[in-house]
């Protein structure tokens, strides 16, 4: 569906607000009846176009601007006192509610079509096709029909035809090369709690959560990171927050990213590394080192389609088993997962809490859908945020004969002392070779290794003691005692779509329960009990059944997967259908018995 909109004047002054014309397109994979109420994307060819259309955009919409025409003259004509693009990403960014992609559309188009010998004016006109190519990439639209159309439309003017096709392809290629990314997160239908709200993307919320982790623990934050789609925005954002004591090091590779973070943690900072699945593969050995040396470390995996390079700009949650088991030896690592863009803030803070309290690397599994999607987020009060106590070792931790024991343990958490350099008497050496219990000296003793392997596992298991009970969404009654016989369990970004699917089922008059996991390792204590209270447990995932495998292995239940791995978020309608099918099966089974 399309909606052209242009001024009645034949040539209203270009660059002024009355001179703005527009063309609205609405496409979907189902029947649509309108050109759409609010566009998801605005392509603004000049400042006036931006200004005139901004009011029509919902928060979180994508804006592509042609930077070429954001000149001082055009800004003035549109009534801008300063260039809004100069403030992108700043705290007072006037476009902060939108995902803005500044692109030199004119410049790149002219460069792309220069071989056709067009006048500069004609060449620049093809920027529309460049923009269309970019949008076609972002929304995964086929290119063939557009090229066929252009061939027909400009069949008589060879140079114009070829220039338009070339510009279209160049736009598409630009999207692919720069890994331009666009998603919109489906929000779980629920009443909004009172409070102050803002729009936020997952990557921004995650970066804020890490800043908060530093503030709430009183520790400097050290990010060692190597750029990778779709995680790089966290590096960009954190690099702006040096005033909070946040150091960001763009390392020479993924391994150096985590290596420098481990070094900073050893030195008393909150070490953080951010990446996507391929980066985790490279960091695996170093994560094992952090497990062995028992140092706090937050490892963020913004998952994308895999394996290998896979689909960098598409979402997937197929790194769960990599996070769980992807290391040599018995190397347990706690795993937390945010469930919505705004929830990335809380998840990051929780990862920091676990890492610091238990002296362990923690894996945080976000994904491309959360990272680039946005939602209204209730801004938390600082007083409501958890305080995190680094509880550094002091000279008082020495034994009576003045010895420091780097592998003695806290009775409750089993955490070992964290003793950054600088304190006399606490000099000690740690490393990747097996440590003797208590002293931390190198040990090849068989019994000691058995003890240490079990102790490292027990320490991670103890984290479950600090977790709140799960919240089961079952309006039909307490878990197992209401009318709902089917439980839908998920983790990560599927929270919104599953919630929407569950609501559709309930609207149709059926009963179904939903629970969503923040902690994938260890599982909360009450999870097994909840699972066993329902006749059927459905597990929708954007992978081939990784959570299902963990649930089956741990709780011996018949977890039934719903698995979609097409790089796209789950759809509420598909989930509704899937849940209803199982409800029907269940009632047939009950009747047959």
């Amino acid at each position: 569906m399309t909606l052209p909109n242009f001024p009645a004047e034949i040539r209203a002054p270009q660059g002024t607000l009355p001179g703005v014309s527009s063309f609205q397109v609405h496409f979907a994979d189902h029947d649509i009846l309108t050109a759409g109420d609010a566009p998801d994307v605005l392509v603004a060819m000049n400042p006036a176009a931006l200004r005139a259309n901004l009011g029509d955009l919902p928060q979180g919409a994508t804006i592509i601007v042609d930077t070429h025409d954001f000149t001082a003259r055009n800004l003035t004509k549109a009534g801008y006192e300063s260039n809004p693009l100069d403030l992108l990403g700043d705290a007072n960014d006037p476009l902060g509610a939108f995902a803005v992609q500044p692109v030199d559309l004119t410049g790149m188009t002219v460069e792309a079509v220069k071989e056709f010998g067009l006048s500069r004016k004609d060449a620049a006109r093809a920027k529309n096709m460049f923009a269309l190519g970019l949008l076609s990439w972002m929304y995964g639209r086929p290119t063939e029909p557009t090229i066929a159309f252009l061939e027909k439309r400009f069949a008589k003017v060879e140079a114009i035809r070829d220039a338009n096709i070339t510009a279209f392809k160049a736009g598409w290629n630009f999207g692919e090369t720069t890994e331009a990314f666009v998603v919109s997160y489906e929000i779980k239908p629920a009443p909004m709690a009172p409070g102050v709200y803002r729009n936020i993307t997952g990557n921004l919320a995650l970066a804020y959560g890490l800043v908060a982790g530093g503030v709430q623990s009183g520790l400097p934050v050290f990010l060692g990171s190597y750029p990778i789609t779709p995680a790089s925005d966290i590096l960009h954002e954190l690099s702006k927050h040096k005033a909070f004591g946040v150091t960001t090091l763009q390392a020479e590779d993924e391994i150096a990213g985590i290596g420098s973070a481990i070094g900073a943690s050893f030195a008393g900072s909150l070490g953080v590394t951010t990446t996507s699945g391929p980066g985790i593969a490279l960091k695996s050995e170093a994560i094992g080192l952090a497990v062995m040396t028992e140092l706090p470390l937050v490892v963020i995996d913004v998952q994308r389609g895999g394996p290998s390079t896979g689909l960098p700009t598409k979402t997937e949650q197929a790194d769960l088993l990599q996070a769980m088991y992807g290391r040599n030896g018995e190397a347990p690592v706690p795993i937390v997962a945010p469930q919505s863009p705004g929830d990335c803030f809380d998840a990051a803070l929780e990862a920091a809490r676990i890492a610091i309290t238990y002296r362990t690397p923690v894996m945080l599994l976000s994904d491309g859908y959360l990272a680039n999607g946005s939602e209204p987020w209730r801004i938390p009060e600082i007083v409501d945020l958890p305080k995190i106590d680094p509880a550094f070792a002091t000279a008082e931790d020495l034994t009576e004969d003045g010895k420091f024991q780097p592998y003695a343990r806290d009775a409750e958490t089993l955490a070992r002392p964290w003793a950054p350099p600088g304190i006399a008497g606490l000099e000690h050496r740690i490393g990747g070779i097996e440590k003797a219990d208590i002293t931390g000296n190198i040990s090849y003793d068989p019994a000691n290794h058995d003890l240490m392997v079990r102790t490292r596992q027990a320490k991670i298991d103890r984290i479950a003691d600090s977790l709140p009970p799960l919240e089961v969404d079952d309006p039909s009654g307490p878990p197992g005692h209401g009318k709902a016989k089917v439980l839908v369990i998920g983790w990560g970004s599927t929270y919104g779509p599953i919630g929407a699917g569950v609501r559709r089922v309930r609207k149709a008059g059926h009963h179904v329960a939903q629970v969503h996991l923040r902690h994938l390792n260890p599982f909360p204590h009450d999870l097994g009990d909840i699972l066993h209270r329902y006749d059927k447990v459905l597990v929708p995932e954007m992978n081939l059944g990784q959570l299902s495998l963990l649930l089956r292995g741990r709780y011996l239940i018949d977890a039934i997967g719903y698995n979609q791995i097409n790089g796209m978020p789950l759809k509420a309608a598909d989930l509704e259908h899937h849940i209803l099918t199982h409800l029907t099966h269940l009632s047939e089974e009950l009747r047959a018995n």
Partner: protein, 333 residues
Amino acid sequence: MTATGLPFPGLRSGVELVPTTDQPQTGKDFTSDQEVRWCPGCGDYAVLKAVQGFLPDLGLRRENIVFVSGIGCSSRFPYYLDTYGMHSIHGRAPSIATGIATAREDLSVWVVTGDGDALSIGGNHLIHALRRNVNMTILLFNNRIYGLTKGQYSPTSEAGKITKSTPMGSLDHPFNPVSLALGAEATFVARTIDSDRKHLTTVLSAAAAHRGTSLVEIYQNCPIFNDGAFDTLKGADATEQLLRLEPGVQVTAHGHTWAHDPTEPDPTWQFALSRLDTDPHTPTPIGIFRQVERPTYDDQARAQLATARQAAPGEPTDRLAALIGSGDTWMVN
């Protein structure tokens, strides 16, 4: 002496921000309670003794010294020193040390590595550490062989070397660590020999005093898998084989003779010196090839933080509230 004097006046010391002590120290203070487990006759013993003997000269507080190593025979080094230390994973020590040195200006950071650790699996981290010029000292023990894995050729082994993995001779062309470091625009590059304690100590002193990444290649004998690799450079009759680099000493390469100047910003002639030992008829230079001043990564990173902090006064919690509450907001009642 509470801190090593600078051989090149005018440069800022590498240990300038590290707390010092007035208490007299001896090598024993830096000796840990762990049994040293290298093979009898290993060159590592001599280097360990030299380091333990030299550290008291720095006059630094022991708790402000950190040794980081990777994997290999020499990487056991931190266990034998009673300082803070980390024996990490293969090749990654420079990256870990980069994190430590950037996070803390009050630490003297040392990396102990070997030819396999630094130049093979960890080659990338080494060149980037040198390029960044993080304030740390890298001791590269070069024995031209893999010892811990029992005798395969290394990236510094001479071509044609018969080893367990190359029964018909190795095919790889070797790295010259000094040439590599100069190519990576290291600010301090030196070479010394395990058996020459006096020279070793002099070079280590200069390396510690240098602000930035110092690379010290130490020729080290492996008596088990590559015994005698550096014998021509040792002993009384080795004088002709060695070119002892000092500032101002006359040196000749490619038909040019000039006065060696390690502080010369253009590394061209320093590089030419590093190529001398590729010709068996010219001597092998030892000493300081290059020592120039360039701002360090860690000093600049901390300066950026300090600048940002000054521009944003107030309590962190208030600033956090302002940060997360920025942008367009609305109220839901």
